[in-house]
């Protein structure tokens, strides 16, 4: 028996040592497997996020399709006019109308007075832990912020004189608890404690508006010491998809629409970049081989309200020809959407649909051209909250911890003094409150993955049947993995994930029909016997929601049955699915839950959540958190 423990070691080694060796060997294996699971979970989240961005491109393709098939007399006209209507941003006079909004006696939230003071701003931070700011003050604060932002240059120049250390934060994405954690650890903004916030304040998290209000307050109180860069999510059309629009309309039912309109204007006035001591460039996404800061400082940045959308339609048919596209929207999109890559060069960023992937040689050249030493950017989630690349000339900083799920990543911020050497402070919200096991985060990733599988069911079954020509209903696990990758193209390690996704196998063979039945435990109020329809709904989930919100011009959260039918019909023609008119009508009627001729968008989205299907039951899994909107 002793040779099982340590076959290579002579027998005279004391038993205690052999025992220790065994335990160490076993434990190190356990840690390694845990690390692998953590990495796989991370890969799942990232690949689903990128797949979501591909979805967005599909949406823009759909709009392009509409343009191509536009005839004035057709029913498409309504939809198109919704999409391309001139956003009537309104004149200054309109915005003063907030003065007519009365604040009732019952209101227990903070009262703001202008010009704002530090204690006002600090009070706001405290109040947002459990209160909501009255719409009158929201609008007033936003109007004042707009007044301030419009006089700022495209590129702010700041310095670390007087031995001031500058704090730089990355993406926050509505995670108020992370902003509060940063303030707790680092202190509130002040003239002694200047801050640069690098965009993506909104979407995904649930307190995007509160974050904006806090940042704008400090901007007003310390205009020379708080700097806000624009991120790619400071964009109305992106907000329709990723949750900010929904958040605002949910919190402010009466004035939400006005707030959103004002924000749309404000976003376009956010500066594009910040330069520290003429040496360190801070901007949200990145650069390209055509980035020219002198040119950028002269453009009218506010004219580009929806950068990606505008960019996409300018180059809808010539997307791959970057050299033809030197124009303002492209310059701005590059700044807000690009990502670094390890190889030299500069190629279109076909994952995001805009901007580029730029290589170390481009970093060298752009930094040299402008006499800079470092590029600080955000835009990509990093497990440790920050990451260097391109020979430490590019630094990514990301401040939303637990971005994908509780336990998925840390957040971080930078402190930088006159020596321009970045120091990092990392954190993770809620790390004491909950036991963030790898298991919990992993379960969430797997749930999200299962939704994807379900949405591609018919393609997957077809792919499986290629390996099962006699239709016995079974395939080997190796073939299962190959088919999964061929269909889903997520670049995931399927053989590593297999034990988590597939339950019982017999002789190494999987009964795939049974497997799908186990996966697709859905909870929906509609009687949907049409499986094809159901699958199409899942597949186009996010795009549908975005389209509905575009159609919902009065932001009521409702669309009419007729609008629903029209939209669906257009979409299914574009997708070339064979769904009959009757099926669509039936669907519309069944979704009109309260039979009043209109469909509640939120209810509609809720009706198509994939619930359950957790193959390996865990006793310690009380309230399962469905990763619904990624």
């Amino acid at each position: 028996m002793c040779c099982n423990i340590l076959p290579r070691h002579p027998h005279h080694i004391p038993t205690a040592m052999r025992a220790a060796l065994l335990i160490q060997r076993w434990y190190r294996q356990y840690v390694a497997r845990l690390e692998m699971r953590r990495r796989c979970t991370w890969n799942i989240f990232q690949s689903i996020e990128y797949a979501g961005e591909q979805d967005q491109i599909k949406l823009y393709n759909f709009f392009g399709y509409l343009m191509d098939h536009f005839t004035p007399a057709s029913s498409e006209r309504n939809l198109i006019s919704h999409i391309f209507r001139e956003h009537d941003i309104g004149r200054d006079v309109e915005w003063e109308s907030y003065k007519s909004i009365e604040v009732p006696e019952l209101y227990s939230g903070p009262h703001l007075s202008f010009p704002m003071t530090f204690s006002n701003a600090a009070e706001l931070v405290e109040a947002f832990k459990n209160k909501q700011l009255h719409s009158r003050y929201v609008l007033q604060l936003l109007v004042e912020s707009w007044r301030r932002l419009r006089i700022l240059p495209n590129i702010s120049q700041i310095s670390t004189c007087h031995s001031k250390e500058i704090t730089i934060c990355g993406d926050l994405h509505g995670h108020l608890e992370d902003l509060l954690l940063v303030f707790y650890k680092n202190g509130l903004p002040s003239s002694e404690r200047p801050y640069v916030f690098n965009g993506d304040y909104v979407d995904r998290g649930k307190d995007s508006l509160e974050i904006l209000l806090i940042l704008f307050s400090f901007l007003l109180v310390y205009p020379n010491d708080v700097h806000l860069n624009r991120g790619n999510h400071e964009d109305h059309i992106v907000n329709l998809r990723y949750g900010f629009t929904k958040e605002v309309l949910g919190k402010y039912k009466l004035h939400g629409k006005k707030i959103l309109k004002l924000l749309q204007k404000i976003f376009s006035w956010l500066p594009l970049a910040t330069v520290i001591d003429h040496k360190v460039l801070v901007l949200h996404g990145g650069i390209s081989d055509t980035t020219d800061l002198h040119l950028l400082s002269r453009v009218d940045r506010h004219k580009v309200t929806n950068p990606l959308f505008t960019f996409f339609f300018i180059c809808y048919k010539v997307f791959s020809h970057r050299t033809l596209l030197i124009n303002i929207p492209t310059l701005i999109v590059d700044l807000l959407w690009s990502d670094p890559m390890p190889q030299d060069g500069c190629i279109p960023n076909d994952v995001r649909g805009g901007g580029c992937y730029w290589g170390p040689n481009v970093t060298e050249e752009v930094l040299r051209r402008h006499n800079l030493t470092l590029l600080i950017r955000s835009h990509e989630c990093k497990q440790e909250g920050y990451e260097f690349c391109h020979n430490r000339k590019v630094l990514t900083i990301f401040s939303a911890s637990n971005y994908y799920e509780v336990g998925s990543n840390r957040g971080a911020y930078i402190r930088m003094g006159p020596d321009l050497v970045p120091h990092f402070i990392q954190y993770q919200a809620n790390s004491e409150d909950c036991v963030c096991s790898v298991g919990q985060t992993e379960r969430s990733a797997l749930k999200a993955l299962r939704e994807k599988l379900f949405a591609h069911k018919s393609e997957l079954v077809s792919a499986f049947q290629v390996y099962d020509p006699e239709h016995k209903g079974r395939i080997s696990l190796g073939n299962w993995a190959s088919a999964m990758e061929a269909v889903l193209k997520l670049g995931l390690p399927w053989r590593m994930l297999r034990s988590q996704l597939v339950g019982e196998t017999v002789d190494g063979m999987l009964d795939y029909q049974l497997w799908f039945r186990e996966l697709s435990i859905t909870e929906h109020k509609t009687e949907l016997s049409n499986a094809n329809l159901l699958e199409t709904m899942y597949k186009n989930h996010s795009n549908l929601e975005t389209i509905f919100r575009i159609i919902d011009t009065d932001n009521s959260g409702l669309i009419s049955l007729e609008e629903f039918r029209q939209t669906w019909k257009l979409l299914s023609t574009h997708l070339q699915t064979d769904i009959s008119d009757k099926a669509i009508s039936d669907l519309a009627v069944s979704i009109d839950f309260n039979k009043d001729g209109s469909i509640d968008i939120n209810e509609f989205m809720e009706a198509f959540r994939l619930v359950g299907g957790d193959l390996l039951q865990h006793e310690d899994d009380p309230s399962a958190q469905v990763l619904h909107e990624i």
Binding site: A20, Q24, A32, R33
Partner: protein, 163 residues
């Protein structure tokens, strides 16, 4: 005989794909290389239980002649295939693990004091680093009684491992 050869080839090619998958998880630059410090994780996650010494031997085999800090897939694949086909570094059965803990529990108390366990694991065998010791202790230590009930610990870890 032809079918045997086919199925043997099929088995090997499936093993190759498994290895490639695990390797790719750590290939951050998508150029079929990984940092040498991640090799241990990759090998272990493929189901092997090498000791640190055995790991170093393997790394020495697959490293470049002038070590660059990176291991390339071309060299990793054949070595790892052999390891898996020969079933080297087999898993440690639960009962053997339990025996090992019992050996350390000289007074047969049924539990270990944190100082005892720490002493053995940080001084004997292939010693744990302070970080490794702290990590294991936080999982193993019973917070109420401040001792390690190793039987429970082993059972708990084995359940996790089978997920």
């Amino acid at each position: 005989m032809a079918e045997d050869k086919d199925s043997a080839e099929a088995i090997v090619s499936e093993v190759h794909r498994k290895i490639s998958e695990a390797f790719d998880v750590f290939d951050h630059e998508f150029n079929k290389t990984v940092d040498v410090r991640e090799i241990g994780t990759i090998i272990r996650s493929l189901g092997c239980f090498p000791s640190e010494g055995e790991l170093h031997d393997i790394i020495a085999e697959i490293e470049e002649e002038e070590p660059t800090g990176y291991i390339c897939f071309e060299k990793f694949l054949p070595t790892m295939t052999t390891v898996l086909m020969e079933r080297r570094f087999r898993p440690i059965p639960e009962d053997l693990l339990l025996q090992a803990f019992e050996v350390l529990d000289q007074q047969k108390k049924g539990h270990l004091e944190p100082e005892e366990l720490t002493k053995y694991l940080t001084q004997e065998g292939e010693p744990f680093t302070p970080e490794e010791m702290e990590e294991m202790m936080s999982a193993a230590l019973d917070p109420d009684r401040n001792v390690i009930f190793y039987k429970d610990f082993v059972s708990m870890m084995s359940v996790d491992n089978h997920r």
